[in-house]
C-alpha cells in the first residue's frame, strides 16, 4: 500500500480541488456532507449554508486515456433555508447533514437532503431543448395579439444550452423533535429512514404527511437520558433490517418484521471495555460517529473517536477487526475535550465494489476490502483489510500537480521526530477531515477539508 510495488497497491494521485483558496473560511462554505451517486457520475456536496453542489464527471476523453474524467459543477441549488422554531425560540440551522442519492430510474436524478429537522426530495433534471414557434406567444413569452395570427404552425423542439434544474418534489417535515443525524434509503427503493438523537422514523418516498416511528429511546423522564442515537442505516439487501449506533458505543440491529416499534433489538453489538484504558473520557471516545454496511451486508464498519471497527453481523460480542486511526491522541484527550475536538464526528467509508472483482472473487474475501476515514491536520487514513497495511495521506494544495503520487505522511507520537514526520503537538486541529466518499466503481475518492473538496484517483498506467 505504501507503493512497495505490490500488484494490488493503489497509488493515489491528486486530481482536482474545488473551493475557495484563501485561508479565511466563510462559515457557509464549510462542507458538511459528500456523496457519490450510484453510478459515480455525480458527486454531491452539502454545506453549512444549506446549499447543495453537484459535480458531474466528464465523459472519458479518448485522447486522454491516462486520466479519468474530471468533475465539473453540474448544478448548484439552495436546498434548505434557516428557520426559526417559535415554540422553542431557537434557530434551525440550514446546514445539510446528509445527502443520499436514489438509484436512477429515468432521465432525472433524485436525491434526499436533510438538515436538522426537514428532509427534502430533490429532482435534478436536464433541459437541453425548448419548444419554439408557439402560435399565441412571442419567443420572449409575450402574448401575441390574436388578430395578428393568420396561420397555424406546430411548435418544434430546438436545442438550447444545457440547463440543469433542481426542484423540490417532496418535503418531509415536522417529524423530528431532535436533530436528524442520518437518512438511509431502503433496498426496496420505496421507503427510507431518518434518525434523530432519540427516534427513528420510516417514510415512504411518496408520502409526506405521515411517517412511522420505528425506534424511540426517549426516556419518560428526560433527566434519565444518558444515551442518544448517533447514526442509522438500512441493510443493503434485507429491506426489513437496519442498524443504529449510540453514544455509548453500541450498535443495535433491528428487524421491522418483529414488531412495529423496534425498541427491542434483534442483536446488540458491543465490545467490552478495556479496563487498562479506562478514563473519564472512555465513554466519549467510544461514542460511534458513523456506521456503514459493507457491500455484501455481511459486515458493518463503525467509527469512534480513535478507531474504525469492522463487525461481523454474526458476532455480537466484539468486532472482527479494529484499526487505530490516530492512537497518538489518546494521551491528549483532555486537551481535545477542552477544545471540543473530542466531539468531532468522523465518517468512514468502504471502497467501491468493482464488478469484475466481484465476479471473480469467490468466498474468500469480501469485496469491501479497504476502509477510509479522516483525521486532523487534513490527514486521512486508509486501511487494507487483506494486506493489513495502512497509509496516511494529506489533502493539501501543496500536492497540486495532477498525476503526482501522494506522499505518505507519518505522525511522530513521541521521542525523536524523524525527517518528514510531524509531531503530535504540531497537528492543526482546525483542519479536520470529517467527510470522505469513495466512487462506487472506480478508485476515485472525494475528501472534504473544511471548505475544499479534493478529488484523488489512482495512478493509471
Amino acid at each position: 500500500f505504501l507503493g512497495a510495488g505490490g500488484g494490488n497497491d493503489i497509488q493515489w494521485c491528486f486530481s482536482q480541488v474545488k473551493g475557495a483558496v484563501d485561508d479565511d473560511v466563510a462559515e457557509a462554505d464549510i462542507i458538511s456532507t459528500v456523496e457519490f451517486n450510484h453510478s459515480g457520475e455525480l458527486l454531491a456536496t452539502g454545506d453549512k449554508g444549506g446549499r447543495v453542489v453537484i459535480f458531474q464527471q466528464e465523459q472519458e476523453n479518448k485522447t486522454q486515456s491516462h486520466s479519468r474524467g474530471e468533475y465539473n459543477v453540474y448544478s448548484t441549488f439552495q436546498s434548505h433555508e434557516p428557520e426559526f422554531d417559535y415554540l422553542k425560540s431557537l434557530e434551525i440551522e440550514e446546514k445539510i447533514n446528509k445527502i443520499r442519492w436514489l438509484p436512477q430510474k429515468n432521465a432525472a436524478q433524485f436525491l434526499l437532503s436533510t438538515n436538522d429537522k426537514t428532509i427534502k426530495l430533490w429532482k435534478i433534471s436536464e433541459r437541453d431543448k425548448r419548444p419554439e414557434g408557439y402560435n399565441l406567444k412571442e419567443e420572449d413569452g409575450r402574448y401575441r395579439d390574436p388578430t395578428t395570427v393568420t396561420t397555424l404552425r406546430v411548435p418544434v423542439f430546438r436545442p438550447m444550452d444545457l440547463m440543469v434544474e433542481a426542484s423540490p418534489r417532496r418535503i418531509f417535515a415536522n417529524a423530528h423533535t431532535y436533530h436528524i443525524n442520518s437518512i438511509s434509503i431502503n433496498s426496496d427503493y420505496e421507503t427510507y429512514l431518518s434518525a434523530d438523537d432519540l427516534r427513528i422514523n420510516l417514510w415512504h418516498l411518496e408520502i409526506t404527511d405521515r411517517s412511522f416511528n420505528i425506534v424511540d429511546i426517549k426516556p419518560a423522564n428526560m433527566e434519565e437520558l444518558t444515551e442518544v442515537i448517533t447514526a442509522a442505516e438500512f441493510h443493503p439487501n434485507s429491506c426489513s433490517t437496519f442498524v443504529y449506533s449510540s453514544s455509548k458505543g453500541t450498535i443495535r440491529l433491528c428487524d421491522m418484521r418483529a414488531s412495529a416499534l423496534c425498541d427491542r433489538h434483534s442483536k446488540l453489538f458491543e465490545e467490552p471495555e478495556d479496563p487498562s484504558n479506562r478514563s473519564f473520557f472512555s465513554e466519549i471516545i467510544s461514542s460511534i460517529s458513523d456506521v456503514k454496511f459493507s457491500h455484501s451486508g455481511r459486515y458493518m464498519m463503525t467509527r469512534d473517536y480513535l478507531s474504525v471497527k469492522i463487525w461481523d453481523l454474526n458476532m455480537e460480542n466484539r468486532p472482527v477487526e479494529t484499526y487505530q486511526v490516530h492512537e497518538y491522541l489518546r494521551s491528549k484527550l483532555c486537551s481535545l475535550y477542552e477544545n471540543d475536538c473530542i466531539f468531532d464526528k468522523f465518517e468512514c467509508c468502504w471502497n467501491g465494489s468493482d464488478r469484475q472483482v466481484e465476479f471473480l472473487s469467490l468466498c474468500t474475501s469480501d469485496l469491501s476490502s479497504i476502509v477510509m476515514t479522516g483525521s486532523y491536520n487534513n490527514f486521512f487514513r486508509m486501511f487494507d483489510r487483506n494486506t493489513k497495511r495502512d497509509i496516511t495521506l494529506e489533502a493539501s494544495r501543496e500536492n497540486n500537480k495532477p498525476r503526482t503520487v501522494l506522499k505518505p505522511r507519518k505522525v511522530c507520537a513521541s521521542g525523536k521526530r524523524k525527517k518528514d514526520e510531524i509531531s503530535v503537538d504540531s497537528l492543526d486541529f482546525n483542519k479536520k477531515i470529517l467527510h470522505t466518499a469513495w466512487h462506487p466503481k472506480e478508485n476515485i475518492i472525494a475528501v472534504a477539508t473544511t471548505n475544499n473538496l479534493y478529488i484523488f484517483q489512482d495512478k493509471m498506467n
Binding site: 425560540s89 434557530e91 438523537d197 437520558l225 444518558t226 478514563s279 484527550l333 483532555c334 477544545n339 497537528l427
Partner: protein
C-alpha cells in the same frame, strides 16, 4: 477546592500520604485535576444554551462525564468535603446556575447578577484566596477522622448538596427539552455582555489549537498514572493554573 493532601505534602515533604486519609486518592493532583475537569464540564454545559439548539449528543456525553466524576468523588468521600466548603459551593452553584439565572425571573428578582466572565474570574480567585487561608488554618482539624462531629466541614448535609447539583443537572436537561418562550428575551435583556465574552473566549480556544494549556491534565487520561506530580506547588499557583485553563489567557 483545595485538596488536603496537597497541604500535607507542603508540610510533610516526602511523607507518603497514601494511607493517611481514608477514601481519598493518594495523589493530590488527581483530585485537583478531577475538580478541574468537573468545572470545565459544567462550564461546557452552560455554554451550549445559545441561539441554536445545543447538540444533544455532546450535552449528554458531558453530563455523563460529570456524573462519573460525581460518583467517583462520592465514593472517595471527597465530594462531601468539597461541597461543604461554602465558597467552593458558591462557585459551583455559580457555574451551574448561570444559565438558570438567565432565564428565571425569580432569581433575577433576588438581584443575582449574571456573572460576566471577568467577574466570575475575579470572584473565583478572591474566593479561593480566602479559601486557602481558611484551609491553612483548619488543616489541623481535618486531620481528624471524618466522622468526628466537631469537624465543622461535615456538619452540612452532603446529600442536599448532591441534590442541588443533581437538580442543576436536571434543570439543564429540562431546558434542553423545552426552552421557555421568554428565555431568549431574558437572555438578551439581563445578560451582561461579558457573558458572551466567555463564549468567544472559549471559541477562541477552539481556534487556537495550542495544546499546552492542558498539559497538567493530560495525566488524567489514565488515572492509574499516579506518579505524575510530586512537585509541591503553592496553592495559589495551582489556582492560577486552573484559572488559566478556564480562561485560556
Amino acid at each position: 477546592m483545595f485538596v488536603r493532601g496537597l497541604k500535607r505534602k507542603c508540610f510533610d515533604g516526602e511523607e507518603d500520604i497514601e494511607g493517611t486519609l481514608a477514601g481519598i486518592k493518594a495523589i493530590p493532583s488527581y483530585n485537583l485535576q478531577r475538580q478541574s475537569l468537573l468545572d470545565m464540564s459544567l462550564v461546557k454545559l452552560q455554554l451550549c444554551h445559545m441561539l441554536v439548539e445545543p447538540n444533544l449528543c455532546r450535552s449528554v456525553l458531558i453530563a455523563n462525564t460529570v456524573r462519573q466524576i460525581q460518583e467517583e468523588m462520592t465514593q472517595d468521600g471527597t465530594w462531601q468535603m468539597i461541597n461543604t466548603q461554602s465558597t467552593g459551593q458558591a462557585s459551583l452553584d455559580r457555574l451551574v446556575s448561570t444559565d438558570i439565572l438567565c432565564r428565571s425571573s425569580r432569581d433575577q428578582a433576588e438581584g443575582k447578577h449574571v456573572p460576566g466572565y471577568g467577574t466570575f474570574n475575579k470572584d473565583f480567585e478572591s474566593d479561593q484566596a480566602q479559601d486557602s487561608s481558611e484551609t491553612m488554618s483548619t488543616a489541623s482539624s481535618v486531620q481528624a477522622p471524618r466522622n468526628l462531629q466537631s469537624n465543622v466541614w461535615e456538619m452540612e448535609n452532603p446529600q442536599e448538596n448532591k441534590g442541588n447539583f443533581q437538580k442543576s443537572l436536571d434543570q439543564i436537561f429540562e431546558t434542553l427539552e423545552n426552552k421557555s418562550p421568554n428565555s431568549v428575551e431574558d437572555l438578551f435583556s439581563e445578560v451582561d455582555n461579558s457573558y458572551y465574552d466567555l463564549d468567544t473566549m472559549l471559541t477562541g480556544m477552539m481556534s487556537n489549537t495550542k495544546m499546552g494549556h492542558c498539559d497538567n491534565l493530560e495525566t488524567f487520561s489514565s488515572p492509574t498514572n499516579t506518579a505524575s506530580n510530586s512537585n509541591c506547588k503553592s496553592d495559589l499557583n495551582d489556582l492560577d493554573h486552573i484559572v488559566e485553563i478556564l480562561v485560556e489567557s
